[in-house]
């Protein structure tokens, strides 16, 4: 790949920054897990800000910012604005940054209840009552789904933004990938509840290949028919509380999953 000139002009290498908000570090680790490509990336890009990997800090602006994690504290709500201002392109990586993450389960609790139960000495801590995706706070140029992201897709996103093209992340369901792999449908053949029909591909249809139902860690696909899938799950004997839990995990605050979970939540009646 031939890097394009950075925003700062001239022929310098494009500057890459990696930012962390509320998260497990797994998505940025995905970059360090690209063992075969990591040194090439470091050669062709200037890794200008990547705390997990380097103590060196190069001033912005940054050509590409990868953002991991959700916004869950007042400080972070401010910090993400500064990151956006310093970035030509901002891409969120993973379920926390894209959908609020598993920590967004707090968003469903009745106001105050959840946090009051958790805090012993709240004065020491500052936190928001919600965990929200980056796009609730600033403009996002692209969202890469997955808990964690797929390292191949992460490399493609980096390459795509350097070349000014669209990332190649098909929005279809996990089902399509199961068919492509030749995996027998776990729901049809074994009666195993599976979120595959409404879940964004990207994992390569991993869970069905290991004889388990998809649990939705890549979040909703484009135009998912969640209501129909819930009907199928009920016919397999899944009760309402279990349906709520199924849609409320790592992408609970993504709108299609959030709305479907509410339909089955007795607390809303």
């Amino acid at each position: 790949m031939t890097p394009r000139a950075g925003r700062s002009g001239g022929t310098e290498k494009p500057k890459l920054a990696v930012w962390k908000f509320a998260s497990c570090d797994g998505c940025q680790l995905s970059l360090l897990d690209c063992e075969d490509e990591l040194l090439a990336i470091a050669d062709r890009l200037e890794v200008a800000y990547f705390r997990e990997a380097s103590r060196a800090v190069v001033e912005g602006p940054y050509d590409l910012s990868l953002v991991e994690g959700s916004i869950s504290t007042p400080d972070d709500a401010q910090r993400i604005r500064r990151v956006r201002e310093a970035s030509t392109r901002l891409v969120t990586i993973g379920a926390c940054a894209t959908a609020g993450g598993i920590q967004a389960l707090r968003n469903f609790q009745h106001a105050g209840e959840f946090l009051a139960a958790v805090y012993a000495t709240p004065a020491y801590i500052s936190t928001l009552a919600t965990s929200t995706p980056i796009s609730s706070h600033v403009k996002v140029d692209f969202e890469l789904q997955g808990c964690p992201v797929n390292p191949r897709q992460l490399l493609d996103v980096i390459s795509a933004f350097l070349h000014g093209r669209k990332p190649n992340t098909p929005p279809h369901s996990v089902c399509v990938e199961c068919k492509r792999r030749g995996t027998v449908c776990v729901m049809v053949a074994h009666g195993t509840p599976c979120l595959g029909p409404v879940t964004h591909d990207g994992c390569g249809a991993l869970c069905p290949a290991y004889d388990r139902g998809c649990y939705g860690c890549f979040g909703p696909k484009e135009t998912p028919n969640t209501a129909s899938l819930s009907g199928w799950w009920r016919r397999l004997g899944v009760d309402e509380p279990a349906l709520v839990r199924a849609f409320r995990s790592f992408n609970a605050w993504a709108e299609p999953f959030r709305e479907e979970s509410r339909k089955h939540d007795a607390q809303n009646d």
Partner: protein
């Protein structure tokens, strides 16, 4: 008296968000605070009401660096609550999966996070410009660990194949055998790694830490054993919370753990090594001795050698497990949920990871408690920083700052792990004389 402060905002090459504050008055360090400002994510609260079967998937999301550790502590604790025992090839596969995580996590720390301190680089990537072959070896070794996790777990980060009772699918003998040549290479690379890190120069500092680790009758510990220390602690995992107390401190979103009546202690590779040297493979023992280590190491700068020795052990152990593997009849044992409480401690790369669950008759989690290794080590990290800084107050600030960062990285802290973790139970400990506000 001159006053100054050293303030490192945003520690680099550690997992998670932390900073360091040192207040110095003359020749005395007045205050040390390893500040953790990682946003709390409240896992113990959000686990309430979830199904037992979800615990390994949910808790793995506490940490992308050591998800297997969370999955292992979760499944073992829940199996104890249900009165289930997982044995034979399923037990062996869990050990093998853990070997993969140790290789991956330790190698990441050795090559990309810790070694740059010794050789004077800002990062492993910068180090690679001068030492490409060395860094390539590290990346390839790390990749072998990831390959074990990808085969058994389905993927490296947040594996999908671990369940209460065993696995969803188990590999064939042939699938596992395919890893063996890679691991044979890795074993050599690990031996080279031990030799390489032993050539670094280490400051001459030792301290009489209390080391706490699991101890198993026959094995170097992963998933089972009693919780023991070199100063007389020897308890079943079920008594963990009676002896190890967590307290909230003002400057951290993580809790600090300490031993009842004794204070700070150390968990992790240094503790495991000290308490289980006799359980290491002969090759790992030999490499350690050749690297100048005795059966005890009390210099935390040398923890990088101990991690390398553990990588070598994990390669040896993985090869042994693969050689002996015969696939089980079923990928998991039957699981019948019942009301009860179960706890487990396993050896995460960074040390003891304790989980306890109270589960109701429907199989829903009523209460969860998680104590990660970094909370256990925070007190000792701060003590080490204080001791180190007091001995080196003559250094210029820039150098003192760098060395203090290195002291922190000696412990390979995982701040994402340490921050779970603010619970209702905290105030209970206020009456037992433990100072809640002190570090």
């Amino acid at each position: 008296m001159t006053h100054k402060t050293i303030n490192i905002e945003g520690l680099a090459r550690v997992e998670g968000e932390g900073s360091l504050y040192l207040k110095i008055a003359g020749d005395r360090v007045e205050e040390v605070r390893l500040k953790i400002f990682e946003p709390p994510r409240f896992f113990e609260a959000l686990l309430r009401g979830r199904a037992y079967a979800e615990a390994p998937d949910i808790t793995s999301r506490i940490c992308g660096i050591c998800p297997v550790a969370y999955q292992m502590s979760a499944v073992h604790a829940i199996e104890r609550a249900f009165g289930i025992r997982v044995d034979g090839p399923l037990r062996a596969l869990r050990r093998l999966l853990y070997c993969g995580e140790w290789i991956e996590s330790h190698t990441l720390h050795i090559y990309l996070l810790h070694a740059p301190d010794f050789l004077g680089y800002e990062s492993g990537l910068a180090m690679a410009k001068d030492h490409p072959a060395v860094v390539q070896r590290g990346l390839e070794l790390k990749k072998v660990g990831n390959e074990i996790m990808a085969l058994i777990g389905g993927r490296e980060i947040h594996p999908i194949n671990v369940r209460v009772g065993g696995f969803y699918r188990v590999p064939s003998k042939k699938e596992l055998a395919a890893l063996a040549p890679r691991l044979e290479w890795a074993r050599d690379a690990a031996r080279e790694t031990v030799r390489w890190v032993a050539t670094f120069s280490f400051p001459d500092v030792e301290h009489d830490y209390e080391f706490v680790a699991l101890r198993h009758p026959e094995e170097y510990p992963f998933n089972e054993g009693r919780v023991v220390s070199d100063k007389g602690l020897d308890i079943a995992v079920g008594n963990f919370e009676e002896e190890i107390i967590e307290a909230q401190v003002p400057h951290s979103t993580a809790l600090h753990a300490s031993l009842r009546g004794r204070g700070a202690y150390v968990a992790g590779p240094m503790a495991r090594y000290h308490l289980n040297f006799d359980r290491l493979s002969p090759a790992a023992q030999e490499a350690a001795r050749a690297a100048g280590l005795s059966a005890t190491c009390r210099n935390f700068f040398r923890s990088i050698i101990v991690r390398a020795v553990e990588v070598l052990y994990a390669c040896d152990e993985a090869l042994r497990l693969i050689e002996a593997y015969e696939p089980p009849e079923a990928p998991s044992v039957p699981v019948e949920p019942r009301a009860g409480v179960g706890s487990a401690a396993t050896e995460a790369p960074r040390g003891i990871l304790y989980h306890r669950y109270r589960i109701d008759e429907r199989g829903l989690i009523q209460e969860a408690k998680i104590v990660p290794p970094t909370s256990q080590n925070q007190g000792s990290i701060e003590d080490d920083l204080r001791r180190f800084a007091e001995r080196h107050l003559d250094l210029p600030d820039e150098q003192l700052t760098r060395r203090c960062e290195q002291v922190i990285r000696n412990f390979d802290p995982c701040i994402s792990c340490a921050t779970h973790f603010l619970r209702l139970e905290i105030d209970r400990h206020a009456s037992d004389g433990h100072d809640e506000r002190g570090a």
